[in-house]
C-alpha cells in the first residue's frame, strides 16, 4: 500500500479521527442490549483463559471442591481438577489444556494444597489484585488471598525473567514498615504460585508489592516494584 502513497492525501491525525468519532449525535442504546451482552459473555472465556500464556494454577482436593465452589466470583469461575497431592511438583503448564479453564496451584509440600484451600475458605480472607508496573512489567499480574489467621496464597503471571543473582520479594505494606512475606521465583513462563505463613500479629495491611532484590532477599525493599495492589 505504500507504493501508492499519495502526498496529497491529508494526514487525518488521531485527534481529528477521535473528534469525528465523538462528534456524532449521541443516542442511548436500548437497555436490553446491556443485559444481552452480559449474558453472552458470562458463558465465554476471557483472554486469560484462552491465551497461550500461562495462568496461575490451583490444586484442590476432591473433598474441598464444594468449599472452593462456594467462594467469591473469582474462585467460582474456576473449575478445579481433582487430583492427588504430590510431594514434588513439576511444571505442568505446557501440558495443561487452557481451554478447560483449569486453575491449579503448584505446592511444594503435601500439606501445601490443604493450606491453600484453608486460606481460601477462611472467614477472614481478603483478596488483593496486583497490577504490573511500567516500564518493567506492564503485562504482569497477580492475585493474593490473605487470611490473618491462616496465611497467604499468592500467584502471579507474566513476571519478567530474573537476572542472575536476583529474586522477587513479596511485601505486605502497612502503616509501619513493609513486611517481607517471602521470596518468589517464577518459572520460565513467568508464573509463580506460593503459600506463605504470615505472622498473625502484623499491623493492618494497606497494600502488597513485589520488588526485585538481591538473591536471598533483603530486610527492606530496595528494588523496582514489579507488582502493586491495594487492599
Amino acid at each position: 500500500m505504500d507504493a501508492i502513497k499519495d502526498d496529497e492525501r491529508p494526514e487525518l491525525e488521531p485527534p481529528i479521527l477521535q473528534g469525528l468519532a465523538q462528534a456524532v449525535p449521541q443516542v442511548d442504546p436500548p437497555p436490553e442490549l446491556r443485559a444481552r451482552l452480559l449474558r453472552s459473555v458470562s458463558t465465554s472465556p476471557t483472554s486469560t483463559f484462552t491465551s497461550p500464556r500461562p495462568v496461575a494454577w490451583w490444586l484442590a482436593t476432591a473433598a474441598s471442591l464444594a468449599l472452593v465452589a462456594g467462594l467469591t466470583i473469582y474462585t467460582a469461575q474456576l473449575r478445579t481438577r481433582i487430583t492427588g497431592l504430590e510431594s514434588e511438583l513439576r511444571d505442568t503448564r505446557a501440558r495443561a489444556d487452557a481451554a478447560q479453564q483449569l486453575m491449579i496451584v503448584a505446592q511444594r509440600t503435601a500439606t501445601g494444597a490443604q493450606t491453600a484451600v484453608a486460606i481460601l475458605t477462611a472467614p477472614d480472607v481478603a483478596r488483593v489484585d496486583l497490577a504490573g508496573q511500567q516500564p518493567v512489567s506492564p503485562s504482569a499480574s497477580a492475585r493474593a488471598f490473605w487470611s490473618r489467621s491462616r496465611g497467604m496464597v499468592f500467584n502471579a503471571s507474566n513476571l519478567p525473567p530474573l537476572p542472575a543473582g536476583r529474586t522477587y520479594q513479596l511485601w505486605v505494606v502497612t502503616a509501619q514498615a513493609p513486611i517481607s512475606a517471602g521470596l518468589l521465583t517464577p518459572d520460565i513462563q513467568g508464573s509463580v504460585s506460593e503459600v506463605f505463613n504470615t505472622p498473625p500479629d502484623i499491623p493492618q495491611p494497606i497494600a502488597m508489592a513485589v520488588t526485585i532484590e538481591p538473591a536471598g532477599g533483603v530486610p527492606a525493599p530496595t528494588g523496582d516494584k514489579y507488582l502493586v495492589g491495594t487492599l
Binding site: 501508492i4 491529508p10 487525518l12 479521527l17 477521535q18 462528534a23 446491556r34 452480559l38 459473555v41
Partner: protein, 198 residues
C-alpha cells in the same frame, strides 16, 4: 502527545479518573470480572452506539456492533496495552472498523485492492496511536468547525470517515474529479485541525 481530558457531559477531573478507572477495569476484565465489563459498558456504550448508529443508520445493526465491540474487549482485555491509548478510544476505533465492514458487506461493495481507504482501518490491538478521548469543549469546537465547512468539503470528509470510502469512491459518489475530492478533504482537515489547536 494529545492528552485531552474530559468527555461529553463530564468534567475534566471526572474523565481523568474515568480513564484510570477504565484501565483498572480492563485489568479486572482480564481476570474474568464481569462487573468490570458492565462498568465499561455503563461509561462508554453510548459513545460506541452513537458512532455505529451514525455509520450504519440502523439501530439493530448498531446494537450488534456494540455487542461485538464489548465482546472483543472481554476477549482481548489482557492483550491490550493501555500505554497505547485510552480504552474508550480503542473501543471507538473498533466500533468504526466493525461498522464500516458491515456497511461494505451490506452493499456488497468489493474491497478495492489497488487503493487504500482515505481513513485506514487500523488493526485493533496493535494500534500505535496514542489515543485519548477529546474533551466536551474540543468536540464542540470540532462540531462548530464541521458546521461551517463548505458543504462539498464536509460531505467529502464525512464520506471518508463515516463510510470509509477511498478517494476514487468519493469522486464517483459525488461525480467530481479525483483531484477535486482530494483537495476538498485536505482543506476540510486543515480547518478541523485548526479548531482543535485552540
Amino acid at each position: 502527545m494529545w492528552v485531552l481530558l474530559a468527555a461529553i457531559g463530564r468534567s475534566a477531573t471526572t474523565l481523568r479518573d474515568e480513564c484510570l478507572a477504565d484501565q483498572l477495569a480492563l485489568g479486572r476484565i482480564a481476570r474474568g470480572d464481569h462487573s468490570a465489563l458492565a462498568e465499561l459498558y455503563d461509561r462508554h456504550a453510548r459513545l460506541v452506539f452513537s458512532l455505529a448508529l451514525r455509520i450504519l443508520q440502523n439501530r439493530a445493526d448498531a446494537e450488534d456492533v456494540v455487542q461485538d465491540v464489548f465482546t472483543q474487549v472481554w476477549a482481548q482485555a489482557s492483550r491490550y496495552d493501555t500505554a497505547r491509548g485510552a480504552v474508550a478510544a480503542w473501543m471507538l476505533m473498533m466500533a468504526r472498523t466493525r461498522a464500516i465492514d458491515r456497511l461494505r458487506s451490506r452493499s456488497s461493495r468489493p474491497e478495492t485492492a489497488t487503493e487504500a481507504r482515505v481513513v485506514e482501518a487500523v488493526p485493533d490491538v496493535t494500534a500505535r496511536q496514542d489515543l485519548q478521548l477529546l474533551s466536551a469543549e474540543q468536540v464542540e469546537s470540532l462540531q462548530d468547525a464541521l458546521n461551517v465547512l463548505p458543504v462539498a468539503q464536509r460531505v467529502a470528509l464525512e464520506l471518508a470517515y463515516y463510510e470509509g470510502l477511498t478517494h476514487a469512491e468519493i469522486a464517483d459518489r459525488l461525480s467530481e474529479p479525483l483531484g477535486t475530492v482530494k483537495t476538498r478533504i485536505r482543506q476540510a482537515v486543515i480547518k478541523l485541525r485548526e479548531s482543535l489547536v485552540q
